[in-house]
């Protein structure tokens, strides 16, 4: 058999010539070109940064492990994790509320998502931080009388820290609600039917079947949202919430090393989001068991293959 390509005939073999059975290892010269370009760009950017006389790298190194910065980092992590946990809970509730058969509940869910996804998070943070301006006191009064059961100033309850957690949780809960809704909708109707037929009630079906199956779909956007929250923690510096950027700002307010301290904060965010990213791909692989494998980042295997180090695909079963 021959194949025509233009007016040449590809794959034509003279009669009687021996045809080898071994298939040549495929080379990827394009990968090497791309790698060289990327390395060149990195070197250029690196050199310009390193040689910039206005940036004192010694100062960056000095403040990287400064106790005050590390304390800020700890607060950022606590704030992000707490806000995420609360946002996931809010998201689970409102995700199911949006899928409810009750039209009133559905409308409430839609309104929540609409409002908190539409208003910029920074504005929401400012609202929470300035709550006392429009709700100065929290009090419980007996209806129809003036007697107060209790009354406390808003600022005593809603500290900047609590306002920060609430702002990030409520704002991101709206996104998690959408993630949960999409995940639940992705679960094939047949699994609901099978679980119902076995005698699991609604709550048991969601907990044991729907959520575990949809986790595979919810994890990538969920992890993304966690990284978003991590970075959005910096917004609370505007209401005096203590976190790493706020701490960096305090330091450069004194020594005017603005770029160096922003660099310190940026390096820590790179480190923390990288850990979050690794955690996410590990989780995705775990959850993907029994379901289609999820291909995430380029793996070591691909690079070994590029170097021609004899990594071959496993043989087909039964061949």
């Amino acid at each position: 058999m021959t194949v025509s390509e233009g007016n040449r005939r590809v794959g034509r073999v003279d009669d009687g010539a021996a045809i080898p059975e071994t298939v040549a290892v495929k080379k990827h010269p394009g990968w090497w070109v791309a790698a060289a370009l990327v390395v060149a760009c990195l070197v250029l950017v690196g050199l310009s940064l390193a040689r910039n006389p206005r940036v004192s790298w010694g100062t960056v190194g000095h403040y990287l492990f400064d106790p005050y910065i590390l304390e800020g980092l700890r607060r950022t992590a606590v704030l992000a994790i707490l806000a995420t946990v609360l946002a996931v809970i809010i998201g689970l509730v409102f995700g199911f509320v949006r899928l409810s058969r009750n039209p009133v509940l559905r409308a409430v869910g839609a309104a929540y998502v609409w409002v908190f996804r539409s208003v910029p998070t920074l504005i929401q943070v400012l609202f929470w931080g300035n709550m006392a301006l429009f709700v100065p006191t929290i009090s419980l009064t007996v209806p129809g009388s003036d007697s107060r059961l209790f009354s406390v100033p808003m600022n005593d309850v809603l500290t900047p820290w609590l306002a920060s957690v609430a702002a990030l949780a409520v704002a991101n809960g709206a996104y998690f609600a959408e993630i949960v809704r999409a995940g639940v909708l992705s679960v094939n109707e047949n699994y609901h039917l099978a679980a119902s037929a076995l005698g699991l009630n609604w709550v048991q079906r969601q907990r044991k079947i729907v959520i575990p199956i949809s986790l595979r779909v919810m994890l990538p956007p969920g992890g993304n949202q966690f990284i978003t929250i991590l970075k959005e923690t910096t917004l609370v510096s505007v209401i005096g919430g203590a976190e790493i950027l706020n701490h960096a700002q305090t330091i450069y307010g004194n020594n005017f090393r603005v770029v160096e301290l922003l660099m310190v904060a940026a390096i820590w965010f790179l480190a923390v989001t990288s850990i979050a990213y690794l955690l996410q791909s590990w989780l995705e692989r775990r959850v993907g068991r029994g379901q289609t494998a999820v291909r995430t980042a380029p793996r070591w295997r691909d690079w070994r293959a590029a170097l021609g180090r004899g990594v071959t695909d496993p043989p087909e079963e039964g061949s």
């Binding site: 099978a194 044991k208 029994g290």
Partner: protein
Amino acid sequence: MSSCRIVNVRKHFGSLTVLKGVHLDVASGELVCLLGPSGGGKSTLLRCINGLTMPDAGYVTVGGEIIGRKVAKGRLHDLKDHVVSRQRRRIGMVFQSFNLFPHLTAIENLMLTPVTLKLGDTELLRARAEQLLDRVGLSDRPDFYPNELSGGQQQRIAIARALMMEPTLMLFDEPTSALDPHLTGEVLETMRDLAKGGMTMIVVTHELSFAREVADRVVLMSDGRIVEDARPDEFFTNPRSPQARQFLRREVTSA
């Protein structure tokens, strides 16, 4: 084993009337095969029996208990979800598309419901699950995920999963329609085995030879009604209704 009564069940979806008043009595230990052309209402009727679909009128009883509804002030009222769920535990169902839970291994599929419902000691349930896997000929596959198993193996595990709940009635919704002919045999063998044990079974199927050989009664549904209800030898050799004659003519020529 439970008996099952279907009394004047009607169901419509939008403007489409799927069931137009169906009556059917299935005695304890009986195996009834539901035959009929696609869209005749067989699957809908089967789902009415365990309350996955609720009839618009009429009712179903299993073991003397109305499924999914209760009587009050001369009307039928819906039961709460958790009450219907309890009723469904003793009614096993096997689907055309197997519907094994993809995130769980074979034995986990069997154990999930009884463990969740705390129906017994986990180790005893595991022993029972292993026993059932052995019964359907898959004792060597407990830790395989559904996507690592053939269709026939998945369906046998689905049957074992239903049996875990110790059902008194088993419903089969075209259990072999998604399978290759050579995998169909192993599933039908498992079902034959179950029938020998005296299980009450209602089987929607296109496997005429299975119906002929194993069924106590063959029921033909067409256009939302039962048009023939007979012993298999009568049904296949001497059908009375014109629909049955037409159905058999078509099935024989297409086979």
